[in-house]
Every structure is written in C-alpha cells, then in structure tokens.
C-alpha cells in the first residue's frame, strides 16, 4: 500500500482507477479486435479448402488442421482480452473499496475522477 490515508491515498486510488477503467480495457479492446479478426479470417478461409475429392479429400489434408489451429489462436486472444477486462474491473472495485473507508481519500478520488482526462 503506497499511502495509507488522506488526499495522497485519493491520488493513488485514482491511478488504480485509471488503470482499471481505461488502460486495461483499452488493451483488452485491442485483443478483442484481434480475436474478431481471427474469427473473420477463419470464416473466410473455411470454404477455400473445398476441392474435388481427388486432391486429398474434399477438404484436403490442410483444411481441418488449419481451422483447428486458427480456433486455438482465436481462443488465446479472446482469453487474454477477458483476463485484461476482468482485472480492470477488479482494480476499479479495489479503488472504490478503499475510498469508502477514508473520507478525505474519497473526496480527492472523486474530484480526480470528474476532471477531464489528461490523455
């Protein structure tokens, strides 16, 4: 715990809140976009493996393997996005929980929350 009480704690809590409500969700959004991109590419590629059965079966040797691999990669990205989002929510919850226990910290925390963002 960096600062135990008062206005300084309010500043620390705001940093925690900022990480939880902005930085981690923004990063999670990048991962969600990536996961959607994988899902789109997978959907686009699925019919492309179809060919006459003379060429290694109607989906060929690669089709099922590539699609399975792409689903794994999509899952990894999706999980990362979920972990980032859930962690962000926990940090916001932590900031709120601390603020409830310290009036001065809560006043400073609320004031910073309502200031225009710096970024």
């Amino acid at each position: 715990m960096p600062t135990d009480h008062g206005t300084d704690l309010g500043i620390d809590l705001f940093e925690l809140y900022d990480v939880g409500s902005h930085k981690l969700p923004e990063l999670a959004t990048e991962y969600s976009i990536a996961a959607v991109g994988i899902a789109t590419a997978t959907a686009q590629a699925t019919p492309l493996f179809t060919r006459p059965s003379e060429f290694g079966g109607v989906n060929g040797p690669l089709g099922p393997e590539w699609l399975s691999f792409s689903k794994t990669v999509g899952w990894l990205l999706d999980q990362t996005a979920k972990n980032l989002d859930d962690t962000g929510r926990a940090l916001v919850m932590a900031a709120d929980a601390y603020a409830e226990a310290d009036d001065a910290a809560k006043r400073k925390f609320d004031q910073l929350k309502h200031e225009p963002p710096m970024r």
Binding site: M1, P2, D4, D12, E15, L16, D18, V19, K23, L24, E26, L27, T29, E30, I33, A34, G37, I38, T40, A41, T42, Q44, A45, L48, F49, T50, R51, P52, E54, F55, G56, G60, P61, L62, E65, W66, S68, F69, S70, T72, V73, L76, L77, Q79, T80, N83, L84, D86, T87, R89, A90, L91, M93, A94, A97, Y98, A101
Partner: protein, 297 residues
C-alpha cells in the same frame, strides 16, 4: 482458336479429338483400337477435376485479415510497426507500490511477461497467414502445372505423325509451392521466452530449406495408346504433387499447433507463453480485494 487460348475442358476435348484422328489412322493400318478408344474417351473426365481447383485469388481476403491482426498484435519486430496501445509498462508503474499478494502476482506473472507473450501471439498469427500464403501458391502452381501438361500433350500429338521423337517436356511447379512458409519469422524470433523450442520442433522455415526444384517429365509414346498412358501418368503425378505438397504444409501447421497446445495444457507452465495467465486479481471480490491489493489498516 489457338490451343493455348482454350479453357481446360476445351483443351481436353481438343487433345482427345486430335488423338482420335491419329487413332483412325492407326486403325486404317490394321491395329486393334477398342482399348485405345475407351482410354481416349476418358481423357476429359481425367482432367475435369482440375477445373474445380480452389481459386488462389480467394485466399487474399483471409490473408489480408490476418495481416491486420498481425499489425494489431505487433510489438515492433518482424517488419511491422509496434501498436502503441499494446503496452503494459505504464500499468506496471501505476501499481508499482501496491504490495498485496494478488497485486504482486499481477506484476510478476502478468505485466512483466506481457511483451513476450504478445510477440508469441503475433508469431502464431503470422504462422496462420503464411500457411494460407503457401496454400495460395500451391493452387497457383497447380493451375500452371496442368496447363503445362495439356500443352505438352497437344504438342506431342502434333509431332506424332511427323516425327519419330514426339516426347514433350512438362513441369510440376506445385512441389515448390510450400516455399511461402519460409516467410514465417520464426528464425530466432521466438527466443524471447525460450519459445525457440517451437522453432526447433516445428521447423517452419526448415520445411522448405532444401528448396525442392520444379519436377519435370515428358509426355511420350510410340503410338496413341502409349501417349494416353503417358498423359494419364502426368495427370496422376500432378494430382499426387498437390496432395504431397499440401501435406507438407499440414505437417508444419500440425506440429506448431501441437507445440502450442502442449504449453497451454502444461500446468507447471500455465498459459504464459501464448496467453497471459489469468491474474488472481481478476477473481477478487469486494470481500477480498483490499487484502489482495495489500491494504493494511
């Protein structure tokens, strides 16, 4: 219309008709022709599957889509600019002084390895993309191969009645199509978190390290039956080359996928090479969060 300007089935019919002309000539000289007629009639059917090969251009959509995903996940290596939003170092600084068990674990297990994990995820996307590029190259080459075979066949027939040596060479470039896999930036790129093991086992670049040259053969035969047999053999080789080449791409993808799943499933390693391990903080509740973050009243 010139032979080269015909579509594949028109070429097949032109070859059959030309061979029939020659067969009639052979029949007039007293050779038995029943078997030869039967084989000749089957030429278009042997070539018809090649009219339904996947269209290489159709692979551009998913390849471009994967290119966009690779850019989203780029930390600045392998030729792509870094995505500035993909950065946890600020987060690490902002929570540097929170010292509860979950806060410490979050810094150690989640924030610190994040750049390496992001890079590994980027490489997996590049692998998916390179496999599709290899597949696209395969179908481009397959179309050229069957065009080469039909051209050689028709020229061989044209020579049959005019020359003793009617053999004409064709090529099978499809066997080299997996070269696109070499585009995967695996050489040394996985070393960040000792992920080099994947490069060693999957050998994406190694698959085509020997650069198999285009295979060539000849359409030949002293009479129409031998010609038909030679053409059938060429079609078989072209089909076999497609299956064999695609199977090499499949092997590479399968090996890499198995390696990824092995790391994801291994409890001692968690998912921390390819997916940030879920932080304990993510499961904190209102009752535990103060302890987890290190609050001491």
């Amino acid at each position: 219309m010139a032979f080269e300007d015909l579509d594949l089935m028109e070429k097949a019919e032109r070859i059959r008709d030309k061979a029939l002309e020659l067969l009639y000539a052979e029949a007039m000289s007293g050779h038995g022709v029943d078997e030869q007629f039967r084989r000749l009639a089957g030429i278009p059917a042997k070539l018809r599957p090649f009219t339904r090969l996947p269209n290489p251009e159709h692979f551009n959509g998913p390849i471009e889509q994967l290119e966009m995903v690779a850019k989203t996940l780029s930390t600045g290596s392998s030729g792509y600019m870094a995505n500035p939003w993909l950065n946890l170092s600020d987060v690490g600084n902002d929570i540097a002084s929170w010292n509860g068990p979950a806060a410490r674990a979050f810094r150690t297990n989640f924030v610190a390895p994040f750049p390496a994990i992001a890079h590994n995820q980027f490489l997996l996307v590049c692998a998916l993309k390179s496999a599709l590029e290899a597949e696209k190259a395969l179908w481009e080459a397959a179309r050229k191969d069957i065009a080469s075979i039909t051209s050689a066949a028709y020229r061989a027939l044209e020579r049959m009645d005019a020359s003793d040596d009617m053999s004409v060479e064709y090529f099978l470039k499809v066997v080299a199509a997996a070269a696109a896999l070499s585009a995967i930036p695996f050489a040394g790129g996985l070393a960040v978190m000792r992920v080099a093991a994947i490069g060693a086992s999957a050998q994406f670049g190694g698959v085509i390290a020997s650069r198999i040259p285009p295979k060539t053969d000849r359409i030949r035969g002293a009479n129409v039956l031998e010609f038909v047999e030679s053409l059938e053999r060429a079609i078989f080789f072209a089909t076999d080359a497609i299956i064999e080449t695609e199977d090499r791409i499949r092997t590479t993808v399968t090996e890499l996928h198995k390696e990824v799943l092995r790391h994801v499933a291994k409890p001692s390693m968690g998912r921390n090479w390819f997916c940030a391990r879920r932080p304990a903080l993510a499961d904190s509740s209102k009752q535990t969060i103060r302890r987890d973050m290190g609050y001491t009243e």
